[in-house]
């Protein structure tokens, strides 16, 4: 027994050494190295990688990036930040990517606490870091506060949580209209169910203030932990409060048990808001189909936000076999970077930053123009986001509503929002 174990240890060590020595640098002439950094064991990180991979393959197939009069090939470096587990790990991974792998640019990042740490490392080396995952406004206010240090940071996706809030209220308004029309309830009651997280705080505060003004009543505010695994007590309490709508703000894993338990117990209240878990293709299976009628804000759906959207989704599915989530915005990030480098005609960070600031790209999720603090510009004609609803296993776009009722924005493929049938049964006339 002991001898076997000892043999196993020696073998293991031998393997380690073997792997380490075989990982020498792959030399290639004229390349731009782009680090894709994210939690690679999770969907967010995987889609960071897939989005960047697709873009890099397309760019290289077209000859690469033209810097001055020389063509450069894009080489991607996959960097596992392990940020879900360890913040120092994420910062070390960032530094390793910059100093050992010698990447020229970085895209990715997801968990805010880790992105702050990674951002600082990237800024120490004056490396351009295009954020594709964290929505906290503070990441960009740093640019405004200390431009010289933080100007190398840009957020490509998602839009920051202030705008998320604005879209939330439009989604709520649409569903409230539906409830008034179909169930004859003039002042729908809203239960706020938001994970306890800083990004959700302004949204909750805004909801409490604004909803009464637009004809809704707030019956309570529940704040479970973003990692809670059981919200049946919250749901019971919400049902007891007589709510017609549940206004959700979930970015954490709690979104899955929430939707599953909401569907299982047939809580008679429409679920509206943000549920990042419901943006993923795996949501339907993860809830065992109980997440039917769950609605959430999203970045991608099979509608023509721009002419690029549907072809992109098709290419993405053909390449990796999954529907893109928002962190696949690394695809956009690479194209934005390519354009800026080509305009700048150099790889020098400062020159590229100056050109990134002039970005105006009609991309897959809308028109990207950076604000003065390097954030995504929100509004009709720019990036607005979508509302999607799960309808019998498919994620359908329900907002902006079909027919261009909102600011004349009308996407082909959008459908009407449907109230959960058990809700109609419970409250119906």
């Amino acid at each position: 027994m002991k001898r076997v174990m000892k043999g196993a240890i020696i073998l293991l060590l031998a393997c380690l050494v073997g792997v380490a020595t075989s990982c020498g640098p792959a030399a290639a002439a004229k390349e731009i190295k782009i680090g894709v950094i994210g939690p690679m064991a999770y969907v967010q990180g995987e889609h960071h990688w897939y989005g960047a991979l697709l873009a890099a393959e397309e760019i290289n197939a077209q000859g690469g990036i033209l810097v001055g009069d020389e063509w450069y090939q894009v080489t991607l470096v996959k960097v596992d930040s392990n940020e879900m587990v360890s913040v120092p790990d994420a910062a070390s991974a960032m530094e390793r990517a910059i100093t050992v792998d010698k990447v020229d640019f970085l895209v990715g990042g997801f968990r805010t606490e880790a992105v702050f740490a990674m951002q600082d490392v990237a800024m120490d080396y004056a490396k351009i870091f295009l954020g594709c995952g964290a929505s906290t406004p503070e990441l960009c206010t740093r640019v405004a506060d200390d431009y010289d240090r933080y100007k190398y940071w840009f957020r490509v996706t998602p839009m920051n949580s202030t705008y998320l809030g604005s879209v939330d209220f439009m989604l709520l308004g649409m569903v409230a209209e539906k409830i008034r029309a179909e169930l004859g309830i003039e002042v729908p009651k809203v239960a706020i169910l938001a994970e306890k997280a800083v990004w959700a705080d302004p949204i909750v505060a805004g909801a409490k203030q604004l909803l009464p003004a637009i004809g809704m009543e707030v019956v309570g505010e529940w704040r479970p932990s973003p990692t809670a695994t059981d919200v049946t007590a919250e749901l019971s309490a919400i049902e007891a409060a007589g709510a017609h709508m549940i206004f959700t703000s979930f970015s954490g894993p709690v979104g899955v048990p929430y939707a599953a338990q909401w569907g299982e117990l047939e809580i008679p209240a429409a679920s509206v808001g943000i549920n990042v878990e419901a943006q993923k293709e795996g949501f339907w299976d993860a809830t065992g189909g109980k997440g039917n009628y769950e609605m959430t804000m999203n970045t991608y759906a099979r509608v023509n936000i721009t002419d690029e959207t549907i072809p992109f989704i098709d290419r993405f599915i053909a390449r990796v076999g999954e529907f893109p989530t928002y962190s696949a915005g690394t695809y956009e990030a690479l194209y934005i970077l390519k354009a800026a480098i080509e305009r700048a005609g150099t790889l020098d960070s400062d020159a590229v930053v100056a050109e990134l600031e002039n970005t105006d790209r009609i991309g897959t999720a809308g028109r990207t123009v950076f604000t003065s603090d390097h954030d995504v510009t929100w509004g009709p004609g720019y990036v607005v986001g979508l509302g999607v609803q799960w309808q019998d296993g498919e994620m359908k776009c329900v907002w902006p509503p079909p027919g261009g009722e909102w600011e004349g924005v009308d996407y082909e493929g959008a459908v009407d929002y449907i109230l959960p049938p058990w809700m109609v049964e419970a409250w119906g006339p």
Partner: protein, 289 residues
């Protein structure tokens, strides 16, 4: 509202009880703090998922198969990695936590970080006193009661039970009395892991399947068994309901502080053991030498 609190408190208490009993058993008998206990619970849930969703087996059959498989894995890991270091209290902690991490990483490699769902034996809900209860929750509650009774009967009425209890009281004397202490330990480990696997079959469908799902239950289980008194199965049962009710009360009475329910449960545990250092039903440790 009071009805809802009672019903929700009972169901969540039942879930916790199911998780805590096995942990309590192996500690009581073998004095092993098995930090991998909830990892076995996760392993069982993933196996059920594999059998039922990948291989398309009948859910009940999948449950039985995975309980058997996990028990075998549990007994083997006891023999291979826990037993060799059981004289070193601290090494046990690390070995079991390493075991948990290994299970977690294997799950992560095999299934990725995506959340999944364990197919449940039953679905739907019923209304009790006006509060909605999923059949899954009722099942978990009922099985927890049955298991408690079975364990009780086993420990008090059978020869094996006497062996287990005497080993728990004094290993050396039990050994002198002709009890095969090593085998008793292994049987207990098998039982404890089987209980964890059953919990995986009943509790996991209420939750989401993901490779980090063992961490939170581990904390709750530790809090419950300490609150109830280490090694006391009755204590674990009572402790589970106390914490179940505490969490429910927080959600209903302080909805804005629902995220604090875990912290409140832990605080209650702290207060109890600060007043009664051996927990509610624990035997005060003699000064061990």
């Amino acid at each position: 509202m009071i009805e809802s609190i009672i019903i929700n408190g009972l169901t969540s208490g039942g879930v916790y009880a199911l998780l805590a009993i096995g942990f309590s058993l192996i500690f009581g008998v073998a004095r092993i703090i098995n930090l991998a206990h909830t990892a076995f619970y996760m392993l069982a849930a993933y196996l059920i998922f594999t059998f039922a969703s990948f291989l398309g087996l009948n859910p009940l059959l999948s449950v039985i198969l995975s309980v058997i498989a996990v028990t075998i894995i549990g007994v083997f890991s006891y023999k291979l990695v826990i037993n060799p270091v059981r004289e070193h209290e601290t090494a046990i902690l690390i070995v079991t936590i390493a075991l948990a991490i290994i299970i977690q990483e294997v799950m992560l490699m095999a299934f990725g970080g995506h959340p999944r769902v364990v197919p449940s034996l039953v679905s739907g809900y019923t209304e009790i006193l006006g509060a909605k209860v999923a059949y899954k929750q009722l099942l978990a509650f009922g099985i927890a009661l049955i298991i408690l009774l079975c364990t009780w009967a086993l420990l008090l009425k059978t020869k094996l039970g006497i062996a287990v209890r005497s080993t728990a009281q004094d290993r050396e004397v039990a050994n002198l009395m002709g009890i095969n202490v090593a085998r008793t330990g292994m049987i207990t480990m098998g039982m404890a892991v089987a209980l964890a696997a059953i919990a995986g079959a009943l509790v996991a469908p209420l939750r989401v399947l993901e490779p980090g799902m063992w961490m939170h239950p581990l904390v709750m289980v530790l809090a419950i068994v300490v609150l109830g008194g280490l090694g006391s199965i009755k204590g674990s049962f009572v402790g589970a309901f106390i914490l179940g009710f505490a969490e429910t009360l927080v959600v209903f009475l302080v909805p804005m502080g629902a995220f604090l329910k875990g912290a409140v449960a832990l605080t209650i545990m702290l207060i109890v053991i600060l007043i009664r250092p051996e927990g509610l039903f624990g035997v005060a440790f003699e000064e061990e030498r």
